[in-house]
């Protein structure tokens, strides 16, 4: 009895058409590995941050196409699975220092955003549940702030770019907007600037040199200094 309860619950999945029984506790990446596949490329951090393992799946008898990060999505009974290695996408070449944060810059570098028909397919494809279509629309009207806010949690997995019928690469547009926003629009942290100036003025050089000597000569002392260092809270 006890043994039976401990036995792992198994689900039936279809990997590139072939049926497999895999433990229900596995995510899609691990289910592949359990079934005997080995990933040499195309799988990154396995922690849901890098976006390399974005994939699509369907359920048996369901027309809908579903989207997920394969390392984050637990397998379910009846899933049809695959792994997408890579979504080819073009990124515009620019020098951020030479750009101006005016609204039209997005259309200049990515003029194909004008082809957006607001079909919302990108939003449906986003495993981060971002309002991708809304941010592409913000790009068309040049609203850099809105665009950076809406695209903030993008991990550049590429699913939106693959699904877009207008062949737009939304995540690159979002990235450009966030860079512009960070560099030119968002309020700058004054204390950071002050610290950078101190660094340029070599205020900390002597202190750092002393630590460098300790790295070579007295690591224990360095550890003690580290443990006893002053920590500002709040």
């Amino acid at each position: 009895m006890e043994e039976e309860a401990e036995k792992e619950k198994m689900v039936k999945v279809y990997i590139m058409g072939r049926e497999f029984e895999v433990p229900a506790t596995l995510n899609i990446v691990k289910a592949f590995e359990y079934a005997g596949y080995r990933f040499v490329r195309g799988i990154g951090c396995r922690g849901g941050y890098c976006g390399a393992c974005a994939t699509v799946y369907r359920f048996k008898d369901d027309y809908r196409l579903n989207f997920a990060l394969a390392c984050q999505k637990a397998v379910e009974d009846g899933m049809y699975l695959t792994i997408l290695p890579f979504v080819p996408a073009e990124k515009a070449q620019y020098e951020l220092d030479k750009l101006k944060p005016r609204g039209t810059v997005l259309l200049e570098l990515y003029p194909e955003i004008a082809r957006c028909v607001a079909c919302n397919t990108c939003t449906k494809a986003c495993p981060q549940e971002l309002e991708v279509m809304d941010y592409v629309q913000a790009a068309i009207r040049g609203d850099i702030k809105e665009l950076s806010n809406l695209s903030f949690d993008c991990i550049q997995c590429g699913l939106c770019a693959m699904r877009c019928p207008a062949e737009i690469v939304p995540y690159n547009v979002g990235q450009l907007a966030r860079r512009l926003y960070g560099k030119y629009v968002a309020p700058q942290a004054k204390h950071t600037h002050a610290r950078v100036e101190e660094i340029h003025a070599c205020v900390f050089d002597e202190e750092l040199d002393n630590y460098s000597i300790l790295v070579k000569e007295d690591v224990e002392k360095l550890k003690k200094i580290y443990v006893e260092r002053e920590i500002k809270v709040g």
Binding site: T104, L107, P111, A114, R115, R141
Partner: protein
């Protein structure tokens, strides 16, 4: 200049029916009064007059139609339909003909071909509408 046009009746009729259906316009009602051609503000740049475009569509002259400059000159300003005694919207006929090419990936305008100056100057309303008409 006279030109002999050979009609392949089946193919031509099929093409005419396709354009009629895609445009949703009663193309067969046209009796060549020419009001549309006189109303068209851009006919000077056209090779086929709007009324000729409709006539050729009735006849299903596919090659003449999809190779005509006219379908890329029409500005969809709806002067023609306003004047047409039969209410035929030739802008829709031109769009149905353009789609014959655009749906086969034969774009007339490629957005990446616009120069950086053009991209900076031309407002989105113009670029978006142009792409809707001239790109797949």
């Amino acid at each position: 200049m006279s030109k002999t046009i050979r009609l392949d009746s089946t193919e031509a009729a099929k093409f005419a029916a396709k354009i009629q259906e895609r445009s949703g316009e009663p193309i067969d009602m046209c009796f060549q009064c020419g009001e549309c051609s006189s109303a068209c503000p851009v006919s000077s740049d056209m090779d086929l007059m709007p009324s000729t475009l409709v006539r050729f569509t009735q006849l299903g002259l596919k090659d003449e139609l999809i190779n005509a400059k006219t379908i890329w000159v029409c500005a969809s300003c709806f002067h023609c339909v306003t004047r047409c005694p039969k209410g035929i919207d030739i802008a829709k006929v031109a769009e149905a003909l353009r789609q014959e090419l655009l749906r086969k990936k034969l774009d007339y305008v490629e957005v990446r071909d616009l120069s950086m100056e053009e991209r900076q100057e031309i407002p989105q309303i113009a670029i978006i509408s142009n792409l809707r008409k001239f790109s797949r």
